[in-house]
Symmetry: C2
Subunit: 329 residues, 2 copies
């Protein structure tokens, strides 16, 4: 089968299809998204070599449970051992022996086929088209924030970043009440956030208004995908406030830690989230996502897809495994 | 009056006594402690120039309320405006316009006299000698941890650091139940922590046992007073665990932030704490502190006191303003 492989070099390669073990299902991928994490992996993040990708919608082709055959699915990316201490305390997502689709010891979904345990799969309701279903994984990551922290109706919320994940976070938080501010570098992307009800600010304006903005937000979500956002986020959060950290990237974070201690800020690392919640939000049309698609490429043009995804200001780039006109750019 | 002043250079100087304003009381300092923050200020932390020191026990000499005159007191170090948004929501400790004794825009307590608003003062019960009362401020900072996080009886706790603040933290946490581990570089200091019921480990042993220890603690408190401890603490905390950050220092913290996000760790900055709780712990003899005194100097030998306090492995250095034999080293 064809797949987008990173082994120090990024390439579209012909590779053997996944071999199934245990209760794994073989999934024919229909569409897959490129996430910032995929791009960071090509920069050395997590030292992963193999088939990239962990955002997808597909159809179950082969499985030990015939009821699943032919179903259209999305899949949770963490595959747990169910035996370690973390699994036994209900933290399967953090399983010590886990594999992670396209990130840790498991070939990813930027391929014609991928494999996941049946327990990781969620059937996609008919009302949700592929163009939306492919957003379930990152939308769930956005929803994870509300699993970890409590947002009060009067809270002043701020999202730092205007990329694809930040867009989803704004869509999720905008429904929580309270004033929501989004800060970014790309006017066009900020306009989209304004359309979701956020007050938007260009990063340059933040520097100009530093004195007025400093320490004024109850909750700040850092989702820039780069180390640079953290210092801004820490400057914006109020004493005893909460800073949610969503960015994963290759390389070190360097900052003055004193304000974190002196202001008794709470920093919450946040990763994968609840697929069920994300699917519900799409099914109820609470969150609009398909307008975030910046470009589509067929799998054979995977390198072009990554090149596009790396460009500053680009939102979601989809890779389509379906043939025909829909897959063209 | 004599005072230990830092103005780019550390010196014992003759300076004018504090001028009182509002409800401030003039306090004759009996003993003052040297904190790691004082040492960091001499390295550039917080860009504070003036009289150092914020740990003290003293006697009220002059005040607008005669009932306080002659009382032996300790004093909370944050002086609030009571008008800003943070004061109005009950976060006076984080007041936007605050002065902080010996740290922000207020002369400190390493002097014959210092001044604080009456509301900051706590009378010291007769049962608590000066040698213990001088520990109230850092002991309160140790108690702050339990104001911010919940410790469950089965939690595996770890304190990284074996200095003066870490010693107090171990004394406070050892009473919470659960297994408490302390990690440090100084065998003698670790022995003291073992005496308080902690399992102790030298940092070198942690490196050797890295695989066994990684991600195994529910709560890790970083109290090394230097940036180096953070990476160790982050390595030790389990996914979804809590890392309490107590260290303030001059200079940047640099670390790989990915484990924080991927493991969804919660980092809690922690600073000043409840004086009342600390006084109660001393009054009930729940916490033993005076054995942590490494050395005593008279105010006139303030430079020697700092030199001693800077030495690796030194615990509390006290500066005594009382004359006579008690003040000698």
């Amino acid at each position: 089968m064809k797949a987008i492989v990173f082994d120090g070099t990024l390439r579209v390669s012909e590779v053997p299809p996944p071999r199934l073990s245990g209760t794994e299902a073989l999934i024919r991928v229909l569409q897959a998204g490129i996430c910032n994490t995929d791009i960071e992996i090509t920069r050395g993040y997590h030292q992963f070599h193999g088939i990239l990708g962990h955002e997808f919608v597909g159809v179950v082709e082969q499985t030990t449970d015939p009821r699943w055959r032919g179903r259209r699915v999305v899949g949770e990316i963490n595959c747990a051992c169910h035996h370690c201490d973390l699994c036994l305390r209900g933290l399967e997502k953090h399983c010590r022996n886990r594999t992670v689709l396209g990130i840790v010891s498991r070939p990813g979904s930027l391929a014609e086929f991928c494999a996941l345990p049946l327990e990781n799969l969620h059937e996609v309701p008919d009302e949700i088209p592929n163009d939306e279903a492919v957003f379930v994984e990152p939308l769930a990551a956005a929803c994870e924030i509300l699993e970890q922290i409590t947002v009060l109706p009067d809270d002043r919320l701020c999202v730092v970043g205007d990329g694809k994940l930040a867009q989803l976070i704004v869509r999720v938080l905008a429904r929580q009440g309270g004033v929501l501010t989004a800060i970014g570098k790309h006017e066009k992307n900020l306009d989209r956030m304004a359309g979701c009800g956020a007050r938007v600010l260009l990063l340059d304006a933040v520097e100009d208004e530093r004195k007025q903005l400093m320490g004024t937000f109850d909750i700040v979500v850092e989702a820039t995908g780069s180390p640079s956002g953290f210092q801004t986020a820490l400057m914006l959060v109020r004493p005893r406030g909460t800073l949610v950290l969503k960015s994963t990237y290759h390389g070190a974070l360097s900052f003055d830690a004193a304000p974190l201690v002196v202001n008794e800020v709470r920093v919450v690392g946040s990763r994968c989230g609840p697929f069920r919640t994300a699917l519900e939000k799409l099914q109820r049309q609470e969150v609009e996502v398909s307008s975030l698609i910046s470009a589509r490429y067929p799998l054979t043009r995977g390198l072009d897809a990554f090149e596009q995804a790396r460009k500053s200001g680009t939102l979601k780039v989809l890779v389509s495994m379906e043939t025909g006109d829909r897959a063209s750019h």
